[in-house]
């Protein structure tokens, strides 16, 4: 059966060159980077080479990169780290309603520690409004954390403008760039941010490794304590094979970015066009300020998990904001924050493109999806009601 992976927003296949680099690291340079001997020094060199490659991907200096166990830890380290370090200065933090749970839940946990959290709303396209940010900033605001691009609907925020305002106000700016670093140009100095999270497994590197960019001079408490690794900001023996893999992935992404971005954008636009041509299928998110890999549509009258299962039987892998796929009771907080009603949010479908996708994949998807939608709608008690309303008898 044809298999078409369209869930690159969830995770990506590991690039063969990345696997090769990791195997070489594990086979030939297994030392502990903290060790004095040659095994250790070889490992240390690999660690620092990877750091340079990751730094280059986001326009940072190597010494501003702290490796973590992924995007989640990077977000938590940034948010807890700055909030606690700056507590004497203020206890107010601003975030947005469409952040990843790694950011939102960290902020909620800080609330229990006595911090005040403002969650900015977004418009129907998933955009934070600058006026809302300006109105929310207070003298005691120490940290603003707003994601670069949303993982579900792909909306890209104007981080440069947001950061300018935040910095003018004297607060610290963090952005979760897990969905952007390696996919669109990201430069910490252009953006102006103080902290930026990235993750390896979204860009053809291994899972379980990420990084936090920390602008020189930014005060931050560590989340965990132990050895002196990573400038005492993140202790523990470094995940060397993972970091080497991340470094290689960053190198490849830096190299291929312009070409891949334009290829993805074309595929994305074809997919959006094809899907939104189906009746009562609507694009979610922004039409232009959007990740090149992201397609997200709402398909009325059907539920996301059953759609995914049927796609899966046809070899197509996607994801949905349906509650059934998240293990929670509510559908995607992102879609709800954009004002999309519950029942429509349940019927959302996210297809996220990657390096391995071809035009033929899009053809296949655009052939299969309408059939499945029809099939599920024929089973749906909501659809017949609607048909009845519009006076089109089903049988």
């Amino acid at each position: 059966m044809r298999r078409v992976y369209l869930d690159h927003g969830a995770t990506t296949p590991v690039h063969p060159e990345v696997i090769e680099a990791m195997v070489a690291c594990m086979r030939d340079h297994f030392g502990n980077p903290s060790s004095v001997h040659s095994f250790g020094r070889e490992a240390k060199k690999l660690l620092e080479d990877a750091r340079s490659n990751v730094a280059k991907l986001i326009g940072a200096r190597p010494e501003e990169i702290i490796f973590t166990s992924g995007g989640t830890e990077a977000d938590n380290l940034a948010i807890f780290g700055v909030a606690r370090a700056m507590r004497k200065k203020g206890n107010h933090i601003i975030t947005s309603a469409i952040e990843h749970h790694a950011v939102l839940d960290a902020c909620l946990a800080l609330k229990k520690e006595g911090f005040e959290i403002t969650v900015l709303p977004v418009d129907e396209y998933g955009m934070v409004k600058i006026e809302d940010l300006k109105a929310a900033l207070r003298p005691e605001t120490t940290l603003v954390t707003i994601m670069h691009a949303n993982n579900e609907v792909g909306t890209i925020q104007p981080i440069q403008e947001i950061t300018r305002i935040v910095k003018e106000h004297g607060a610290i700016m963090h952005t979760d760039a897990v969905q952007t670093a390696g996919k669109i140009p990201v430069d910490v100095n252009d953006l102006g941010v103080d902290l930026l999270s990235a993750s390896s497994h979204k860009i053809y590197g291994p899972k379980g490794v990420g990084c936090l960019y920390i602008r020189k001079g930014t005060k931050l408490f560590p989340l965990t304590h132990g050895g002196g690794q990573e400038r005492k900001r993140r202790p523990g023996t470094e995940n060397l094979p993972g970091i080497v893999g991340f470094g290689k992935a960053a190198e490849i992404m830096t190299r291929d970015l312009p070409e891949e971005t334009s290829r993805m954008t074309k595929l994305r636009n074809r997919l959006i066009e094809g899907l939104t041509a189906i009746p009562e299928v609507k694009l979610n998110g922004h039409s232009t300020d959007r990740l090149p890999i992201n397609v997200n549509v709402s398909i009325r009258y059907i539920e996301g998990e059953s759609l995914l299962l049927m796609l899966d039987m046809k070899g197509i892998a996607g994801s949905s904001g349906s509650a059934c796929t998240s293990g929670s009771l509510d559908p995607s907080h992102v879609l709800l924050a954009m004002g999309i009603p519950h029942e429509i949010a349940h019927g959302s479908l996210r297809l996220t493109l990657g390096r391995d996708n071809s035009e033929a994949d899009i053809d296949y998807v655009l052939q299969v999806v309408p059939e499945i939608i029809e099939r599920l709608r024929a089973m749906s008690p909501l659809y017949d009601r609607k048909e009845a309303q519009t006076c089109t008898p089903i049988k």
């Binding site: 539920e303 059953s306 059934c324 008690p381 017949d384 049988k395």
Partner: protein, 126 residues
């Protein structure tokens, strides 16, 4: 995640559709929570002759609806009333724990359809 039996009933659901003049109709769930099941029954001499369903929901919701119709066709309404959501899940060789409460409502919809049938019968008797 799902058993083979769930996947079979999901991919090849039995008795999808409506009954034009049903003896009873039962619906549970609502679109906000993500699952709606509507079950139509055709009853003759207190025996369920036919059942059809329409379901908006996840794989478990569709599969439980499907197997539920199979389990009760030909049964008396008294027997059908003994059918529990648990028994439906069991007939599918089990459901993932998180699906047991939110998507396993077919027996409830069936019971509602039977109640509807009984209520209509009372009405026509009066």
């Amino acid at each position: 995640m799902y058993t083979d039996k769930v996947m079979d009933h999901f991919m090849n659901p039995r008795n999808v559709g409506e009954i034009e003049k049903p003896s009873g109709v039962g619906e549970v769930g609502n679109p906000t929570c993500g699952d709606i099941m509507r079950i139509y029954i055709d009853v003759e001499d207190d025996i369920i002759k036919d059942v059809k369903f329409k379901t908006f929901g996840c794989g478990a919701a569709i599969a439980t609806s499907s197997i539920c119709t199979e389990l009760v066709i030909g049964k008396s309404i008294d027997e059908a009333l003994k059918l529990t959501n648990e028994a439906v899940a069991e007939a599918l060789d089990g459901l993932p724990p998180q699906k047991m409460h939110c998507s396993n409502l077919a027996a409830d919809a069936l019971h509602k359809a039977i109640a509807d049938y009984k209520a209509k019968r009372e009405d026509s008797k009066e």
